[in-house]
Symmetry: C2
Subunit: 344 residues, 2 copies
Amino acid sequence: MKQPKLKGKAPTMHDVARLAGVSQPTVSRVLNQNDTSVQISEETRYRVHQAVEALGYRPNVIARSLRTQRTQTIALMIADISNAFYHPIARAVQDIARQFDYEVLISNSDHVYEHEKHFCEIVLRRGVDGAILVPIRLTGDDLDEYMSQTHIPFVVLGHHFYHPHVDVVYMDDERATYETTRWLISERGHTCIGYIGVPDILPPGPRRLRGFHRALVDCGLTADPRFILESDFTMEGGRRIAHQLIQQREIPSALMVANDLMAIGLILALQDAGYHIPEDVAIVGFDNIPEATVVRPTLTTIAQNPRDLGEKLAHALFERIENPELTERRLFESSYQLIVRNSA
Amino acid sequence: MKQPKLKGKAPTMHDVARLAGVSQPTVSRVLNQNDTSVQISEETRYRVHQAVEALGYRPNVIARSLRTQRTQTIALMIADISNAFYHPIARAVQDIARQFDYEVLISNSDHVYEHEKHFCEIVLRRGVDGAILVPIRLTGDDLDEYMSQTHIPFVVLGHHFYHPHVDVVYMDDERATYETTRWLISERGHTCIGYIGVPDILPPGPRRLRGFHRALVDCGLTADPRFILESDFTMEGGRRIAHQLIQQREIPSALMVANDLMAIGLILALQDAGYHIPEDVAIVGFDNIPEATVVRPTLTTIAQNPRDLGEKLAHALFERIENPELTERRLFESSYQLIVRNSA
DNA sequence: TTGTATGCGTTATCAT
DNA sequence: ATGATAACGCATACAA
């Protein structure tokens, strides 16, 4: 009983048909009774189900896909599944996909152009029914080339991306940075504010910096170039910036930091050097990662909602999968929230 | 030029063949020249490649899969991709898969039995070439039923799982807890040690508790039942335990905590109540999550290496995919490391 | 070296 | 209500 049937080939519809004493297409009809236009007698329906049970028959998804040109699969490309910003996105997409009975193929691009192109290649070769991307290096023209070869919908995360037939989900981080900087000025009374950014190559880089600058200008302040710095996304990068500031012997009264990891690195390093947060320097991060509630003082930060981003992406995609007539680009904004804690 | 070819059907080998003036199988041969047994003239090889270029031909993976019974896809089931323990595993598996030119289908089980079974169902229906699982509710017998229907290899994470033909990768958390508890006793001089565990349903629950108890016994100590508690994996769960301990008005001098999130919750709540860590209570966690370096005092913890677990799982699987003659169960241990920081 | 014929397991279009 | 038959796109055994 441990090995009910020999590990031969898996049973097919033919096997079921033979056992049930019907033809193979009839088995198909019984099993896909969603098609109500066809009537099937209770008798055969019963016999088929019996045979299915007896053989432990399972439909072969591949054969079905070849025939129907649908795979019940979507593809998702993110930068890195083990990054705290991306994995809630992936999780949300998977959850929505499960509701639609779809599987998800996930690929990490690591911001590498070749990987991003390879992903599109896979999408075409494997005939998935739709794709969600977070393109960093890929341009609208790149995607256009791939899209010209297929009918399937693409949906993208990121305001910076433009293609006339690709839905975009985004978070307005320029405005988030703008409003938060103004908040530092009007609500917290800061007049000397620094900004620690991320490299310009990454889409959020220039946008967040722009929001920061606009806020200063609109409030009649000017940016001190010594306090406009850039680092690499990591806690260690934040520490390096801290040391740099400390060596300059002059420090702004507040710092907008373009991501939480750097912000936390800054806090820890500044504290090690004897500074008090937020008395000596107020610090605002960006992302609201789990560590933000653990660091002391707890980190004031701009919360994106990656789970929401993922849900919006998936919903947009499935809407298009189910309504191929949709073509015009649609824009979906995901909100942000300033989480005021104790670091600013 | 923006739409080089009309979005008709994608070109097939037939189209390539026609354009190149050869037969379709010849195209197939040219494109899969791995088969060195067949010689092809430079002339046709050239013409075929020309035609491929001209048409923008891409092989149809589905059709190939139907024919070859291989999908170049593996499936991975974890509890939750957005859990810090699992996503490095997923990342590692994906990285190895990329080396083999495989795609990865990822599914979240959330410890739900139905999801775990559904995953196996998907594995069979979609004909993936292998599967990696972290089974929580699934038993060896369950898996045996599925395995009897297929030839593909399964590889599993977790010591608790047994099936004669399934490789297991594990981390010996019983020993880890045992040795760390002994370390608290012999190196740190504690004699009154509490243990905060996770529910017994989860495989690590009983194992870690057992390691703890063994250590006490081997050192001639006895466990105080008031200090053997259990909570739910979260920081909030840790806080609740802290309040419970505080209300008891008596607290052990050290606490082994079965995961970092709870340990951090404990630290923060105890500090809020005026306790000093590690002077009043030493605390050791389990997992070495990123937050462990951010909390003050930094958390002493038992580091698993999920990336390594993922790599071992993937390597085991691909070894089996490439050597189907392998059958006997193999065991792979992933090491752990006590990371001594400042909380104990 | 290349072409013909066949089949992988379905779904879909005809008949009946 | 059901059965033949074809087709999806490819790889392979066999023939030439």
